[in-house]
């Protein structure tokens, strides 16, 4: 029965680990996308300013 507890622990750990890794991956992607959006917005604003001159 002790062995069963050990593997039950592995099962729940694996499940939570997959969810946590996925959530971290999504969070990192969100940050990367927002940084990229800010950069592209600045680039467009610069180009618009240049075009007005």
């Amino acid at each position: 029965m002790d062995r069963n507890f050990e593997y039950m622990f592995y099962g729940f750990t694996a499940a939570w680990l997959i969810v946590i890794v996925y959530v971290i991956w999504i969070a990192l992607r969100e940050r990367r996308l927002r940084d990229e959006l800010d950069r592209v917005k600045r680039m467009v604003e610069d180009q618009e300013r240049e075009a007005k001159k």
Binding site: M1, R3, N4, F5, Y7, M8, Y10, G11, F12, A14, A15, I18, V19, Y22, V23, I26, R29, E30, L33, R34, E36, L37, V40, K41, M43, V44, Q47, E48, E50, A51
Partner: protein, 228 residues
């Protein structure tokens, strides 16, 4: 803004329900007579399987709507849903393998249910690889929708395989699928976990869809910048 509120709402509800379910599973539900403690893995294995299948089907319908309307938002939704579903399908496979190691004495068996499930995962892995390989949005969306339909045929095979073939994988357990059922008090947490997983997956899908919105905004800004 509405989407952010929904993400928070579903995350909080899923977190609360999961915490309550874990308390029930570990404290209130007794060990199963023949399997001991390991049977509790079923409380994650089954909900992850059911909810991932549900998501795969929803994604397939979203792909079909794309094929009809040619609106890329439906393709983006299908991709987001499939990605989250794939994550939970992976949980199903891994928890099943850990359970099998104790109950069968082996990590893996080339049983019809498990093999068809493995093929299903490979098909969706191929789906993501294909999406990365194709740049033209409408071509990518069209092929993704077709592959999604093909993969959903395999899901039906996975679902019915335990009725068609009686081999290594256990047959239906729940009464609603013609099984012997679970002891009173053991079945309810299972369905509560299905609900909790569905809410968690919905929150994750909404986050992924928001990210795809940002990605589209970046792409349209880039096109605008190139027009100067």
């Amino acid at each position: 803004m509405m989407r952010t509120k929904l993400i928070i709402l579903f995350s909080v509800l899923a977190g609360g329900l999961l915490a309550w379910n874990l308390h029930t599973i570990f404290i209130k539900v007794p060990d199963e007579a023949s399997q001991g403690a390991i049977f509790r893995v079923f409380y994650f294995h089954f909900p992850a399987a059911v909810t991932s299948f549900t998501c795969f089907f929803v994604a397939m319908f979203s792909g079909l709507v794309y094929l009809r309307k040619r609106d890329l938002r439906y393709d983006a939704a299908a991709a987001a849903i499939n990605e989250v579903a794939f994550t939970f399908a992976l949980i199903t496979l891994i928890t099943g393998m850990i359970w099998g190691r104790i109950i069968w004495g082996i990590w893996w068996a080339w049983d019809p249910r498990i093999t068809s499930y493995f093929i299903c995962l490979l098909m969706y892995f191929g789906y993501f690889m294909m999406r990365r390989a194709i740049d033209e949005p409408h071509r990518r969306a069209r092929l993704s929708a077709v592959l999604s339909v093909l993969a959903s045929v395999d899901i039906v095979i996975v679902w019915k395989s335990i009725e068609w073939f009686r081999t290594q994988h256990p047959g239906p357990v729940l009464e609603i699928r013609g099984g012997g059922g679970m002891a009173p008090g053991m079945e309810a947490p299972l369905f509560w976990n299905v609900l909790a997983f569905l809410m968690l997956e919905t929150a994750l899908i909404l986050v992924r869809m928001r990210q795809q919105g940002i990605q589209s905004e970046i792409e349209s800004l880039r096109r605008y910048a190139h027009a100067f």
